[in-house]
Amino acid sequence: MIDYSTRMNPNVQALKPSGIRKFFDIANEMEDVISLSIGEPDFVTPWHIRQEGIRSLEDGKTWYSPNRGFMELREEICKWFKRHYHVQYEPKTECLVTVGGSEAIDSCIRCLVCPGDEVLIPQPSFVCYQPLTEMAGGVPVILETKAKNGFRLTPEELKAAITPKTKLLILPYPNNPTGAVMRREHLNAIADVLRGTDIMVLSDEIYSELTYGDTSHVTFSNIPDMRERTIVINGFSKAFAMTGWRLGFALGPALVIKQMTKLHQFGIMSAPTVSQYAAVEAMKNGDSDSAYMREQYDMRRRLIVDGFNELGLTCFEPEGAFYIFPCIRSTGLTSDEFCKRLIQEEHVAVVPGTAFGNCGEGFVRVSYSYSIKHITEALSRIGHFVQNHHADML
């Protein structure tokens, strides 16, 4: 008998599985579960975008694309990015089409991080940065963002964490799970700390099209002097409801993109061809779709924030993505207990904040990527739950 534990990389075995999973097994057993846990759009990819994918299949375009992605797509990505975020990238050398934003994050971290390098990771944040850093031999340095700062990274927190070994800063905004957004003034303050260092920045802007309020998303590469140190990660999943197409991209300095392209070439070869044809249409003619979806999310966001505040589960106003991150301490429960009991007693699934870092304790992630009917029903069940638990405490 092979002892597999000795045959496999101990670093891989030591990785902790994502904590989002925990409650779904319970949820799957129940009939009438209302979930507010899913992190993807409830919209279906707009028809005209799907149609371009279908057309490419009908035309028999079923071969590999160039490693970096079709030139036409890269050109359209760069045009889209310029049109929306006002930074020019060179499609030939500064753009890489990847299998979702996730692959771009992976290859960017592996490309930049050497063993012993410190990677600054603000948390709560998406679950992949820490394990990917560890696999590259890097040392994750967790920056715990605070509710009182709207879960933004502050320049003081950043400055305090920088050492001579700091190689890379992850900027995960608009943020999953908190919905926090870094506006231009916040990014300027971060840039002031970085200017004069050679710390690189991975700016994960996958939710860039889902920013609410009067001002739209600002890419970190638009901040003076930051373009040269920034790899922008973005993709089609959130802006165009294209999660299943698995398509993202990285924009950055030519020399970095060139090295990332090698990892992509050997590990992936090229992103799915059918998805790239659909994506060209999204870039060219999808602006109004993004705007429509943003408007719908925005209404749901206001509905759910108001609903939670009414229940006494205060949440700061999330300005981006499609999550709220309410504080549940008033129930006297931990995040884990809250989620477990909520699903057992009221059959509503949400994700404990601790799945996104230890500092998520006392919070839960609630997705509003659901219909209004679904959200109002969930709110009324959560209301019932909170009433019971507040009564318990008295």
Binding site: S18, R21, N28, G39, D42, V127
Partner: protein, 161 residues
């Protein structure tokens, strides 16, 4: 406040507070707008959309095509006005094409509807002919898919998202 109408047309049970939150308006403004819409006859009522097939009651629905001869001066209005006052009648539409009025009728059985058409509709003066189509299955009505199972969320809970 057009968005208010859209929201109400999709779900009339949202509270004023919820509507106000979604529209970024005060509750007062939303309340006043609704009253105004009601007074102006823009909002004509609120009702539930029911899948009668799930309820153990006898229910039949038919779409009746009516060919009628229009009256001088009043056109189709006179006959339409007579028909729409009958309580069995759910909807009356003047339509283009091969016939003039489309009338939707609810009854407790096909028999009852057939009798109604025979005795009440076809006997009216200006009615030239009727064609009755009984509804066999309602897949979707008023924008709502009747079988809730068909509306299932196709997304899966993932460990990473």
């Amino acid at each position: 406040m057009d968005q208010l109408l859209t929201l109400l047309s999709e779900n009339a049970r949202l509270t004023t507070r919820q509507l106000a939150a979604m529209l970024n308006e005060t509750e007062e403004n939303v309340k006043n707008a609704i009253v105004k819409y009601e007074e102006d006859g823009v909002i004509r009522g609120y009702k539930a959309i029911i899948n009668w097939e799930k309820v153990d009651v006898n229910n039949a629905i038919a779409i009746i095509e009516l060919r009628v001869s229009p009256k001088r001066e009043r056109g189709f209005d006179e006959i339409a006005s007579k028909i729409m006052k009958l309580p069995e009648v759910d909807s009356v539409y003047l339509v283009s094409g091969g016939y003039d009025l489309a009338v939707i009728i609810h009854g407790s059985s096909m028999q009852e509807i057939a009798m109604f058409v025979m005795r009440r509709l076809s006997t009216m003066d200006s009615v030239l002919s009727t064609t009755t189509h009984f509804i066999l299955t309602r897949y979707k009505a008023d924008g709502i898919i009747m079988n809730a199972a068909e509306e299932k969320d196709g997304r899966r809970d993932l460990s990473c998202d």
